[in-house]
């Protein structure tokens, strides 16, 4: 994918990956950020003009201090759309990015073509508490994020050996920077009262979930569906919370089928 930097009106500097042609589709990543390789984006780019911005605090994007609360994050999302000159894009958001996408759609429902929420954060069911990612040790992430833990571990570390102190430090610094940012909307409980605003969503909405999601379990899909006027659920086999990475073909098929 092509990579370039843009600056928003607020002053954040954002790296954009983009590829493909056709209807605009913007992908909002989760609290772990984009990986070095994102095959599902390449595949989506065979059908759409895909834009994947990195949030400030992730990868090369900066301006973390300019975003402090949910409204800042939401407006930042629209600022990026504006800077890219997109009109009524499809918005696909994963996990934290799904929460932001849902907020964007609640704020400006008529500016979204179709909405895909991939295991989004944003709701809280006391009887199904979401594990506290902010207290995970490096080796604990994979078991909550992936259906196949050992494959997931390799993907998370990008081949880094976490037994090597330098590699561990690199991971630690990157992880601190990303989760520090994510914490502004997810810590200590990932609920910024999105449920008060979901009634405003009007775009057709797809909820995509991994059947083995151990972080935000599929019971949350039902909650989102119940609160969104025009939503349906697709569950994907042998996939955990990181389903776009774990089952890219199946994920892309579900998304493109819905967007057609």
């Amino acid at each position: 994918m092509n990579s370039r930097m843009i600056e928003t009106g607020r002053g954040t500097k954002v790296r954009i990956l983009d590829a493909g042609s056709g209807e605009p589709l913007i992908f909002m990543h989760g609290a772990g950020g984009l990986f070095p390789e994102n095959p599902f984006l390449d595949q989506l780019a065979q059908h759409y003009h895909v834009f994947a911005p990195e949030f400030p605090g992730f990868g090369e994007s900066t301006g973390e201090a300019l975003l402090e609360d949910m409204l800042d994050f939401t407006l930042h999302g629209w600022d990026v759309v504006h800077e890219l000159g997109l009109t009524r894009p499809h918005i696909v958001g994963h996990s934290m990015g799904g929460m932001i996408a849902a907020e964007m759609a609640a704020l400006a429902p008529n500016d979204v073509s179709k909405l895909v929420l991939v295991a989004p954060a944003g709701l809280w069911l006391p009887e199904h508490p979401i594990p506290d990612i902010f207290s995970f040790l490096p080796h604990e992430f994979a078991q909550y994020l992936f259906h196949d833990r050992s494959q997931g571990e390799a993907m998370l570390t990008g081949g880094l050996d976490l037994k090597n102190p330098e590699a561990l430090k690199e991971f630690y610094i990157g992880n601190s920077r990303r989760l520090s940012m994510a914490g502004k909307i997810l810590f200590p409980v990932p609920n910024r009262r999105l449920s008060k605003r979901l009634y405003r969503l009007s775009a057709p909405t797809l909820l995509v979930w991994g059947k083995s999601d151990a972080l935000i379990p599929p019971v949350y899909a039902e909650q989102f569906k119940a609160q969104i006027a025009n939503a349906k659920i697709v569950e994907i086999e042998k996939a955990g919370h990181m389903l776009p990475y774990e089952q890219p073909e199946e994920f892309v098929r579900s998304v493109t089928t819905f967007l057609q």
């Binding site: 601190s176 520090s180 914490g183």
Partner: protein, 420 residues
Amino acid sequence: MKFTWFNLMPWPSLPDNFREEHRSVWVDIPNRLYDPHKGHFVYHEYMDQLEYADSLGYDGIGVNEHHQNGYGLMPSPNIIAAGLARRTSQAALAVIGNSLALYNPPLRVAEEFAMLDVISGGRLLAGFPVGTSMDTNYCYGQIPGLTRDKYAEAHELVMRAWHEDEPFAFDGKYNQLRYVNLWPKPIQKPNPPIYIPGGGSVETWDFCLDNDYNYSYLSFTGYLRGKKLLDGYWDRVAARGKDESPYRAAFAQTICVADTDQQAEEMYAEHVNYFYNRCLHVHSGFADAPGYRTIKTIKADVLNALSEEMQSLFPNLTWKELVDEGYIIAGSPATVRERMEDLIKSLRVGHIFCLIHIGNMPDWKTRYSTKLFAEQVMPHLRDMWPEWKDDNRWWCQPLDERLQPENGIEQARQDARMPL
């Protein structure tokens, strides 16, 4: 030199298999391990010890704030300090301190510290810690990436509340108050001496130097490891063109005194072991929430005493290693004196927070060690900084005439007398 006798107030009855059975002494430690009936006696024993330290001539008695843990039983150190304010009359009350970002509004800290200063007749030393990540983020739910910003705003509010003589409006990001108008105000002007307990961030050093606050380094890995960090601090002091008064810095040190080196090991080893292996057994995932420390500080590679690495080190430390590597200073009065001199000189500190009650140490041992230190160690260390002996910038300025507890108790019991 100023010596402050601290009681961390650990829970003394963590089970022998605590480390194996529980992942953390902090945050999610099962609270069924706490027994309020026993707690009644524990609080009084610990407060009695603090009063005892006052009677032996320690310059200060110290308390601090922690939450949801078996390491230190003072969610509100101000409550303990209030009790001490009534029953002591000499020692400074070192409340090190109140975690500013946890109070809503933080005006509460300005008020309670003012109350303590007034009740004690101007004996308060006011500490403003950011608080550990366990306390601040995991127990009290503060967003890690915003904690320092919120702390900075709270600090500004508290200082203005203490200093200004007219009501004012405060339009902060985290606190909006139409009328700030402090009642009561502290005795000490313009404010009680401020102590900032910290780890090793450059930002904290600059904050202390910007405001001429005391920088208190609290560590359990001892003074030999602490040296690297305090060297960094003193370099910063020099770079900022500030004077090098040793009273700019405080250091907390675990100290065990007995008649002989051998007796010190026999008497105290089990309690030191309890402290390091149970009281400091913190789940690494709670030690440092992402965003709690700045990336700059992480990159500076400052050792986090609660990191996984340190955690795995503690259980294997022998008494000899603990002593030789300076985690603790232990032994006969002569031995302790010698090590303390080395500590004070090499770290260049004017204040020592003496950690003499350790882990599950029984009362009699605590008093024994406390008395030996006061009588046979402290007097020899008093004048280690003769050129700075009149530097009282970081010490309290009590009223000359203030109520004495002995008289007070007697008066309180008398019947009312009609004025003639």
